[in-house]
Protein backbone atom coordinates (compact mmCIF):
# COMPACT_ATOMS: atom_id res chain seq x y z
CA UNK A 1 0.00 0.00 0.00
CA UNK A 2 1.43 3.35 -1.03
CA UNK A 3 0.90 6.20 1.42
CA UNK A 4 -0.06 9.78 0.57
CA UNK A 5 3.49 10.96 1.25
CA UNK A 6 4.88 8.27 -1.03
CA UNK A 7 2.55 9.21 -3.90
CA UNK A 8 3.51 12.87 -3.48
CA UNK A 9 7.14 11.79 -3.62
CA UNK A 10 6.50 9.81 -6.81
CA UNK A 11 4.82 12.85 -8.37
CA UNK A 12 7.76 14.99 -7.37
CA UNK A 13 10.11 12.47 -8.99
CA UNK A 14 8.04 12.47 -12.19
CA UNK A 15 8.06 16.28 -12.34
CA UNK A 16 11.78 16.40 -11.63
CA UNK A 17 12.33 13.86 -14.42
CA UNK A 18 10.26 15.97 -16.80
CA UNK A 19 12.20 19.11 -15.89
CA UNK A 20 15.51 17.29 -16.30
CA UNK A 21 14.38 16.02 -19.70
CA UNK A 22 13.48 19.52 -20.85
CA UNK A 23 16.84 20.83 -19.65
CA UNK A 24 18.58 18.00 -21.50
CA UNK A 25 16.71 18.78 -24.72
CA UNK A 26 17.27 22.48 -24.22
CA UNK A 27 14.21 24.58 -23.48
CA UNK A 28 13.42 26.46 -26.68
CA UNK A 29 13.52 30.25 -26.65
CA UNK A 30 10.17 31.71 -27.58
CA UNK A 31 11.00 34.42 -30.09
CA UNK A 32 7.69 35.25 -31.71
CA UNK A 33 3.97 35.45 -31.05
CA UNK A 34 3.55 32.21 -33.01
CA UNK A 35 6.10 30.43 -30.77
CA UNK A 36 4.22 31.51 -27.67
CA UNK A 37 0.85 30.54 -29.18
CA UNK A 38 2.15 27.08 -30.07
CA UNK A 39 3.64 26.69 -26.58
CA UNK A 40 0.27 27.66 -25.08
CA UNK A 41 -1.52 25.06 -27.20
CA UNK A 42 1.04 22.38 -26.24
CA UNK A 43 0.61 23.31 -22.57
CA UNK A 44 -3.20 23.10 -22.82
CA UNK A 45 -2.89 19.65 -24.40
CA UNK A 46 -0.46 18.45 -21.74
CA UNK A 47 -2.57 19.74 -18.84
CA UNK A 48 -5.67 18.15 -20.38
CA UNK A 49 -3.94 14.75 -20.54
CA UNK A 50 -2.74 15.08 -16.96
CA UNK A 51 -6.26 16.08 -15.87
CA UNK A 52 -7.67 12.92 -17.50
CA UNK A 53 -5.10 10.67 -15.85
CA UNK A 54 -5.56 12.18 -12.40
CA UNK A 55 -9.37 11.97 -12.60
CA UNK A 56 -9.31 8.35 -13.76
CA UNK A 57 -6.88 7.42 -11.02
CA UNK A 58 -9.05 9.08 -8.38
CA UNK A 59 -12.11 7.19 -9.61
CA UNK A 60 -10.25 3.87 -9.41
CA UNK A 61 -9.12 4.74 -5.89
CA UNK A 62 -12.67 5.57 -4.85
CA UNK A 63 -14.07 2.18 -5.89
CA UNK A 64 -15.39 0.28 -2.91
CA UNK A 65 -15.80 3.43 -0.83
CA UNK A 66 -19.28 3.62 0.74
CA UNK A 67 -19.52 7.24 -0.42
CA UNK A 68 -18.45 6.35 -3.95
CA UNK A 69 -21.25 8.22 -5.74
CA UNK A 70 -20.57 11.43 -3.81
CA UNK A 71 -16.81 11.15 -4.36
CA UNK A 72 -17.36 10.43 -8.07
CA UNK A 73 -19.51 13.54 -8.36
CA UNK A 74 -16.78 15.71 -6.79
CA UNK A 75 -14.09 14.16 -9.03
CA UNK A 76 -16.20 14.79 -12.14
CA UNK A 77 -16.95 18.38 -11.12
CA UNK A 78 -13.28 19.08 -10.46
CA UNK A 79 -12.15 17.52 -13.74
CA UNK A 80 -14.89 19.37 -15.64
CA UNK A 81 -13.85 22.66 -14.03
CA UNK A 82 -10.27 22.20 -15.24
CA UNK A 83 -11.58 21.13 -18.65
CA UNK A 84 -13.74 24.27 -18.90
CA UNK A 85 -10.79 26.50 -18.05
CA UNK A 86 -8.65 24.73 -20.67
CA UNK A 87 -11.40 25.15 -23.27
CA UNK A 88 -11.58 28.87 -22.49
CA UNK A 89 -7.79 29.16 -22.66
CA UNK A 90 -7.81 27.40 -26.03
CA UNK A 91 -10.45 29.80 -27.36
CA UNK A 92 -8.52 32.78 -26.01
CA UNK A 93 -5.33 31.73 -27.82
CA UNK A 94 -7.29 31.29 -31.05
CA UNK A 95 -8.88 34.75 -30.60
CA UNK A 96 -5.46 36.29 -29.88
CA UNK A 97 -4.14 34.67 -33.05
CA UNK A 98 -7.03 36.07 -35.07
CA UNK A 99 -6.12 39.68 -34.33
CA UNK A 100 -2.35 39.48 -34.01
CA UNK A 101 -1.93 41.21 -37.40
CA UNK A 102 -4.59 43.83 -36.69
CA UNK A 103 -3.68 44.77 -33.12
CA UNK A 104 -0.43 43.07 -32.02
CA UNK A 105 -0.42 44.75 -28.60
CA UNK A 106 -3.92 43.54 -27.75
CA UNK A 107 -3.10 40.06 -29.05
CA UNK A 108 0.04 39.98 -26.93
CA UNK A 109 -1.89 41.05 -23.82
CA UNK A 110 -4.51 38.40 -24.47
CA UNK A 111 -1.87 35.70 -24.88
CA UNK A 112 -0.08 36.83 -21.72
CA UNK A 113 -3.34 36.45 -19.78
CA UNK A 114 -3.65 32.88 -21.09
CA UNK A 115 -0.05 32.08 -20.09
CA UNK A 116 -0.71 33.31 -16.55
CA UNK A 117 -3.94 31.31 -16.33
CA UNK A 118 -2.19 28.15 -17.56
CA UNK A 119 0.57 28.53 -14.96
CA UNK A 120 -2.09 28.80 -12.25
CA UNK A 121 -3.83 25.67 -13.57
CA UNK A 122 -0.55 23.75 -13.66
CA UNK A 123 0.15 24.76 -10.05
CA UNK A 124 -3.34 23.67 -9.00
CA UNK A 125 -2.90 20.22 -10.58
CA UNK A 126 0.59 19.80 -9.11
CA UNK A 127 -0.61 20.69 -5.61
CA UNK A 128 -3.74 18.54 -5.81
CA UNK A 129 -2.30 15.54 -7.61
CA UNK A 130 -2.93 12.30 -5.73
Amino acid sequence: MITVRQTQFVWLLALMGLMAGCQYLGAPKLNTFNDRAAAAYATITAISKANDSIAQYRVRQAHGNPDYEDILSVIKDDAQNVQDQLTQANQAVTIAESFKDIDPQAADTRLLAVEIALKALQKYLEENAP
Partner: protein, 68 residues
Protein backbone atom coordinates in the same frame (compact mmCIF):
# COMPACT_ATOMS: atom_id res chain seq x y z
CA UNK B 1 -0.76 6.87 -8.01
CA UNK B 2 1.83 4.16 -8.33
CA UNK B 3 5.27 4.85 -9.83
CA UNK B 4 4.37 3.33 -13.22
CA UNK B 5 1.29 5.55 -13.56
CA UNK B 6 3.24 8.63 -12.48
CA UNK B 7 5.87 7.88 -15.09
CA UNK B 8 3.19 7.49 -17.78
CA UNK B 9 1.69 10.87 -16.87
CA UNK B 10 5.17 12.41 -16.88
CA UNK B 11 5.83 10.96 -20.32
CA UNK B 12 2.52 12.28 -21.62
CA UNK B 13 3.46 15.77 -20.48
CA UNK B 14 6.99 15.44 -21.84
CA UNK B 15 5.68 14.28 -25.23
CA UNK B 16 3.96 17.62 -25.88
CA UNK B 17 7.06 19.62 -25.08
CA UNK B 18 9.37 17.34 -27.05
CA UNK B 19 7.19 17.85 -30.14
CA UNK B 20 7.24 21.58 -29.52
CA UNK B 21 11.01 21.61 -29.03
CA UNK B 22 11.60 19.62 -32.22
CA UNK B 23 9.51 22.06 -34.26
CA UNK B 24 11.31 25.04 -32.70
CA UNK B 25 14.70 23.50 -33.44
CA UNK B 26 13.62 22.81 -37.02
CA UNK B 27 12.64 26.47 -37.43
CA UNK B 28 15.99 27.61 -36.05
CA UNK B 29 17.88 25.16 -38.26
CA UNK B 30 16.09 26.58 -41.29
CA UNK B 31 17.08 30.08 -40.22
CA UNK B 32 13.52 31.17 -39.47
CA UNK B 33 12.81 33.53 -36.59
CA UNK B 34 9.96 31.38 -35.30
CA UNK B 35 7.14 28.98 -36.11
CA UNK B 36 4.94 29.51 -39.17
CA UNK B 37 1.15 29.88 -39.02
CA UNK B 38 0.86 26.37 -40.46
CA UNK B 39 3.01 24.92 -37.68
CA UNK B 40 0.93 26.68 -35.04
CA UNK B 41 -2.17 25.26 -36.72
CA UNK B 42 -0.93 21.71 -36.10
CA UNK B 43 -0.68 22.44 -32.37
CA UNK B 44 -4.15 24.04 -32.42
CA UNK B 45 -5.62 20.98 -34.14
CA UNK B 46 -3.97 18.62 -31.65
CA UNK B 47 -5.31 20.68 -28.74
CA UNK B 48 -8.87 20.71 -30.12
CA UNK B 49 -8.73 16.92 -30.61
CA UNK B 50 -7.40 16.37 -27.07
CA UNK B 51 -10.06 18.61 -25.51
CA UNK B 52 -12.79 16.69 -27.34
CA UNK B 53 -11.32 13.36 -26.21
CA UNK B 54 -10.97 14.65 -22.67
CA UNK B 55 -14.61 15.80 -22.57
CA UNK B 56 -15.71 12.30 -23.53
CA UNK B 57 -13.50 10.76 -20.85
CA UNK B 58 -14.82 13.12 -18.16
CA UNK B 59 -18.42 12.43 -19.16
CA UNK B 60 -17.73 8.69 -18.91
CA UNK B 61 -15.93 8.82 -15.57
CA UNK B 62 -17.19 6.07 -13.30
CA UNK B 63 -18.82 4.11 -16.08
CA UNK B 64 -17.72 0.47 -16.51
CA UNK B 65 -15.20 1.13 -19.30
CA UNK B 66 -13.36 3.63 -17.07
CA UNK B 67 -13.39 1.35 -14.05
CA UNK B 68 -11.40 -1.38 -15.77
Amino acid sequence: MNPAQAIIVGLQLAQEFIQFTIKMQKAQTEGREGLTDEEVATFRAATIAQLALSQTKISNLGKPAEAS
